[in-house]
């Protein structure tokens, strides 16, 4: 990731618009909500650039983006947002049938998208920021304001749940 700082919100829109839209689309599962989120993020970027302090621009931008998403989730409460499970064991990962199981449906984008939406929000955003947006653990840590160890844990747990959902 480059650390060149876009000077205007228009440049942020041009450079990051598609990534923000894809982040939003994979988190919300539909284009209308994703489009609304992109507009909200760009609005916040426009307001925030005036007071932006040099640092990790990626971390700053994605923090704005995920905060906008979480604010929207809280406000509208109409998206499928599973609470963070207290007990990850409920997924019964020990009964995993093994790698020889074919992920027969794994190539179907709709199934993957559906599984993503079943992830707890914290796991979902970590997986999407890593695998869709392409951020490093350090950048995800800055965006989500959590330690890198937490990022590592959320991504791995998220993937294990996805594996269960896709088999």
């Amino acid at each position: 990731m480059t650390e060149s700082i876009p000077l205007t919100w228009e440049e942020v829109a041009r450079v990051y618009g598609k990534k923000i839209y894809n982040f939003a689309y994979r988190l919300t599962g539909n284009s209308n909500d994703a489009a609304d989120l992109v507009q909200e993020v760009l609005l916040r970027v426009r307001r925030g650039l005036a007071s932006y302090q040099p640092g990790s621009f990626e971390g700053w931008l994605w923090r704005i983006t995920r905060n906008a998403f979480l604010d929207d989730v809280r406000k509208r409460k109409r998206r499928p947002t599973s609470p963070l499970p207290d007990d990850i064991d409920r997924w019964d990962l020990a009964s995993s049938p093994g790698a020889d199981v074919e992920f027969s449906r794994v190539s179907l984008g709709d199934d993957i998208q559906k599984a993503l939406l079943e992830l707890p929000v914290e796991f979902r955003e970590a997986v999407v920021l890593c695998d869709i947006v392409g951020l490093s653990y350090e950048e995800i840590s800055q965006a989500a304001a959590v330690p890198i160890g937490t990022v590592r844990s959320r991504i791995h747990r998220g993937r294990k749940i996805l594996k269960e959902l896709l088999t």
């Binding site: 598609k18 790698a99 590592r152 993937r159 996805l162």
Partner: protein, 137 residues
């Protein structure tokens, strides 16, 4: 190490340092469960990454707005440059325009309404607009 757990995803994502990587490899060499999990996580990771990048809906980021920055900058530059060129042409034209005819005090008075002294120091010879030759020298 009980099981490799999240070290597996960190390794797949290139986020594992040398020490942890060695610990992971040592563990995988003797733990079939984690070796299987490594393969599973690799499949899931690849599956999510295989999702297509969605195109932005038309109009979500208006082209006019996106292009406004460079266009505005260019327009401002062109206007400034054009003004500078015009000013320069006017200045050069004024300098290069021959005006060999000496103006009299009456001419100045009648043209500008200025009251020019009849003192020889302010005589016509002193208010002649320089000619090209004089400028060249």
């Amino acid at each position: 190490m009980t099981h490799a757990g999240e070290l597996i995803s960190a390794y797949l994502d290139g986020e594992l340092g040398g020490g942890e990587r060695q610990r992971l490899f040592d563990h995988l060499s003797s733990c079939g469960t984690c070796a299987v999990e490594m393969e599973e996580m690799q499949v899931v990771r690849s599956a999510v990454r295989s999702l297509p990048m969605m195109e932005l809906p038309p109009g979500l980021i208006p082209e006019a707005d996106v292009e406004a920055v460079p266009l505005t900058r260019n327009r401002g530059f062109l206007v400034g440059a054009a003004a500078a060129v015009v000013a320069m042409v006017i200045a050069v034209a004024a300098i290069l325009t021959p005006s060999p005819v000496a103006l009299s005090v009456d001419d100045l008075n009648s043209r500008f309404g200025a009251r020019v002294s009849a003192d020889p120091a302010f005589g016509p010879a002193k208010v002649v607009v320089p000619s090209i030759i004089e400028i060249t020298e």
